[in-house]
């Protein structure tokens, strides 16, 4: 029996597939996140002195930050696929990704600000990382605002996809300009990867929690795309027979 993945590009086939997979993702999300946080809270030794217990925040902050960034890339990817192949489902995936991504960016922003407060003493600092989190939030908000401002869903999908592409193209430029506002004083282009000096236990906790957030994102995005399918395909026969 020949099997073609392309059959799942049709909403009618993707809908039940997604439905079957969602519980699996939830299971993975809950187990991984709980384990990751457990690991972060109990297994990592009090590396920093007792006064610095706040570093537990980092597990949530890093996971949410990564998700914020990765989901934006995913959103752009699905938009691009939709623009090139003109498939409805890809645009639905892009739209579904946007909300979860925005929420992740929001969590990253707030947790980052709290992290800043406890480690540097200020709720906000215009350092490159926090500034980029803020800009990512703006990009998500722009996407969602544009999408909801356009009534025609075809036009909305395509316009938002183009916007997200332009955003992605400009993000490295923004990053460079925020990192290096005065080119005369930029000693090194590459900031040292902040993961070099991290103890392996903490790193493990971060990774597991991040994976848990990934699973969570897949679960909610698939749930959302199923709702979008129901909404948009409401006039089709297969939906009315559900």
């Amino acid at each position: 029996m020949t099997f073609s993945w392309f059959k799942y590009a049709a909403p009618i086939n993707f809908y039940p597939l997604a439905g079957k997979v969602i519980p699996l993702f939830w299971f993975l999300a809950i187990t991984l996140t709980s384990f990751g946080l457990y690991w972060g809270f109990f297994q990592t030794p009090d590396v920093l002195s007792d006064q610095k217990q706040y570093y537990r925040i980092i597990f949530v902050h890093v996971a949410a930050s990564w998700m914020g960034m990765w989901l934006y890339a995913m959103m752009v990817f699905w938009g691009l696929v939709g623009l090139v192949f003109n498939t409805r489902l890809s645009f639905m995936m892009a739209k579904a990704t946007s909300t979860t991504g925005a929420l992740m960016a929001f969590i990253a922003l707030i947790s980052g600000a709290v992290w800043g407060k406890v480690s540097w003493g200020t709720w906000w600092d215009w350092d490159p990382r926090l500034t980029m989190s803020l800009i990512l939030m703006f990009l998500y908000i722009g996407y969602i605002a544009l999408h909801s401002a356009i009534d025609n869903s075809r036009r909305a999908d395509k316009a938002a996809a183009v916007l997200s592409l332009v955003g992605l193209a400009i993000v490295p430029v923004i990053y460079y300009s925020v990192n290096c506002p005065n080119p005369n004083e930029c000693s090194s282009l590459h900031q040292e990867s902040s993961f070099k000096g991290v103890e392996s236990n903490i790193l493990l906790g971060m990774l597991i929690t991040a994976l848990g957030f990934w699973m969570y994102s897949f679960a909610t995005i698939l749930m959302r795309v199923r709702n979008i399918i129901l909404e948009r395909e409401i006039n089709t026969k297969w939906v009315s027979e559900l």
């Binding site: 949530v60 929420l103 929001f106 969590i107 709290v114 749930m223």
Partner: protein
């Protein structure tokens, strides 16, 4: 135990962030489930209207 909650004086910060994150991550799926229920109800209602129209 209380030391666990206190987190060396940073209790509010740590637990605040955790609550925010987990809170959002709980409300989102609940919201989605509600949305799905409404959509399914709408579909059922449309079906009924169609059937009545046919009669």
């Amino acid at each position: 135990m209380s030391e666990f909650f206190n987190m060396g004086g940073y209790g509010y910060h740590v637990w605040g962030v955790i609550l925010l994150a987990l809170g959002i991550m709980l409300i989102e799926p609940i919201n989605l489930k509600l949305q799905r229920k409404t959509l399914l109800q709408r579909i059922q209602r449309n079906k009924r209207i169609e059937k009545n129209r046919r009669k």
